[in-house]
Point group: C2
Chain length 356, copies 2
């Protein structure tokens, strides 16, 4: 089903206002959510409204949270989100990083006690829109099993980086696991075996049954998803494992918050932590020529020889940018189940469905 | 064959002095090289002396090179290595990043027109030894094929990060390819098939014949190694591809140097570029408690449940640290062929072999 973007935006803004967020806050949360749908990353868009509804109504997200500064220098800050909605904490923190980068060339902000923040690239692209490099990271509840381990210890732990370029901003945004949990759910729904190297059972043995892995994750019974690079070390799984530790280092260790192995979406405080960095790349030389260097390199990648049967080599951010150009003044696909969930939430909350 | 570390050090220092490097320079280059052997990363140690010999005698490395500052701010610099030995360029650049981090909390230095710098973790650990976070990256000659491509466009493109912790510094150091080229050479030597997902032929088709891949790489005839995550997107190869682009972004694009697809070890200027960052993590709060957070998290990873048949979960830097403790006051293994090469080089150069 296709629905007008403007209708979905109005619906979401009205919904978030219904929870008690201010009008500005509701606009920010909605903008982050809808961006995912515009980019074609449906798993992180309005599909998540049910989950956010649970978190807000259970009190894990505090609608009235005030973000506190714990520590600050000219180039850095450590913040406490105090259970803020993740999108609000993240926009606040990235704006602070951007402000510092504009003054001293670089800003780094780490923030604890937050919640799920949606797509990491939303924040890196805030920096890119101001002609800066943006970096963002977030830990999550543990889902990723270290190399040679049998127990999830790190999260999906996304890393994102955006760098201005023409005609597309370079925008990298990826989990440090081989796949995110949502992918396993698709395999379970279709009742198909997982590819090798994606997941492990509670004894740390390779497991191709998505149901077993998902049930174990929910019950925290052991096992989980392999790091990028897969199981063991043959294909470099120890590299993905290390990258996931780096995300916890910058987001949780630096902020004095909870590392992924303590993050818990069932508790009063989920404890998710994020990290943001903005760099004014003019600290390395003339910005115009640096940006041109980047655009040229990306074009060379796109122009490079294709594998047999392929007709494009993409650069990161290209697909989502094309998808957004198609959708932004038109419609986005909404799954029937998602629409039903959205209408139910609005009904319970007593907010207007705005003829959705 | 096992040889005393002190003898190997004396030999190398004498060799580099023989090329015309000063005594201090020879000590630095030797220290970087020997560190790789002490860590058990033989591929990056004295095994490379033949290659360095070629580069120095062909003039690709300029023994008398002066490193120039192209652009500088309080938190950053862009340098030109002017064909300097990679180890000297890298130590110079990381020292500058460290100096800036100590004053303003963070230092970022990008450097162009350098040469192969050995192990990336040597430089990140220079920062860690001063109680700072260290980051280093380097591009190389193109060897990695972008997702859906058939032509190597990015290099081995290592990323390294070190963060102080007890009892082991966290020290991540990995290529952004599924494996480095050296691994293919081992398979060729043993005449065994490559695992799936490691490499591609000149048409971008999966290829398990190491000889074909290596010969194509040498002839720049197409094909190469897959990015971390393997071929296509099923196991996340597009993530490794993106990480390799990020290494070229910070090292080459930011320095105005050559991206991996232009780096050429057969030309007068190889054009390898590096990036270094040092962060005083005290910019986020109390250093003692942050370092304790890190040590605790790493210990939890090591203590986590093991997969059946495994008895350890490692953290990054643990193995090399243990290996170095064993070797540093004793001996290192030297391959017979490597020893023969070393003695030949010394003979031609007329330097003392110091009873090696």
């Amino acid at each position: 089903m296709q629905i007008d973007v403007s209708k979905v935006i109005n619906f979401c803004e009205s919904l978030f206002s219904g929870y008690g967020f201010t009008s500005d806050e509701s606009k920010i949360i909605t903008d982050v959510l809808i961006r995912a749908d515009l980019y074609g990353i449906e798993s992180h868009g309005i599909h998540r409204l049910v989950r956010y509804n649970e978190e807000i109504t259970s009190g894990q997200v505090d609608v009235k949270a005030k973000i506190q500064t714990v520590f600050e220098t000219g180039i850095s800050a450590c913040l406490d989100a105090n259970k803020s909605m993740g999108q609000l904490a993240a926009v606040h923190a990235m704006n602070l990083a951007i402000q510092k980068a504009k003054i001293v060339g670089c800003g780094m902000v780490t923030i604890r006690n937050s919640n799920h923040f949606g797509i990491a690239s939303y924040y890196t692209e805030m920096a890119a829109a101001q002609d800066l490099i943006g970096v963002s990271m977030s830990n999550t509840e543990a889902i990723c099993v270290p190399t040679f381990g049998a127990q999830a210890m790190t999260g999906t732990n996304a890393m994102a980086l955006a760098m201005p370029a023409e005609p597309y901003t370079f925008s990298y945004d990826a989990s440090t696991t081989v796949v995110p949990r949502g992918k396993l759910e698709v395999y379970r729904k279709n009742n198909t075996q997982l590819p090798d190297h994606w997941a492990l059972d509670e004894n740390g043995k390779p497991c191709v049954d998505a149901s077993v892995v998902i049930e174990n994750i929910i019950a925290k019974a052991g096992g989980g998803i392999a790091p990028l690079g897969g199981l063991g070390t043959l294909h470099g799984g120890h590299k993905g494992y290390g990258l996931s530790v780096i995300v916890d280092l910058f987001s949780a260790v630096m902020s004095g918050g909870l590392t992924s192995n303590y993050v818990n979406r069932k508790k009063d405080i989920a404890g998710i932590c994020h990290y943001f960095m903005a760099i004014d790349y003019g600290i390395f030389g003339d910005k115009t020529s640096i940006k041109n260097n980047m655009s040229k390199f990306l074009q060379e990648l796109r122009d490079s020889k294709k594998a047999e049967g392929q007709n494009r080599v993409y650069t990161h951010g290209e697909r989502s940018s094309e998808m957004m150009a198609q959708r932004k003044n038109g419609q986005i696909p909404v799954n029937e189940k998602t629409l039903e969930e959205m209408l139910n939430i609005a009904k319970k909350l007593g907010t207007d469905t705005l003829s959705l």
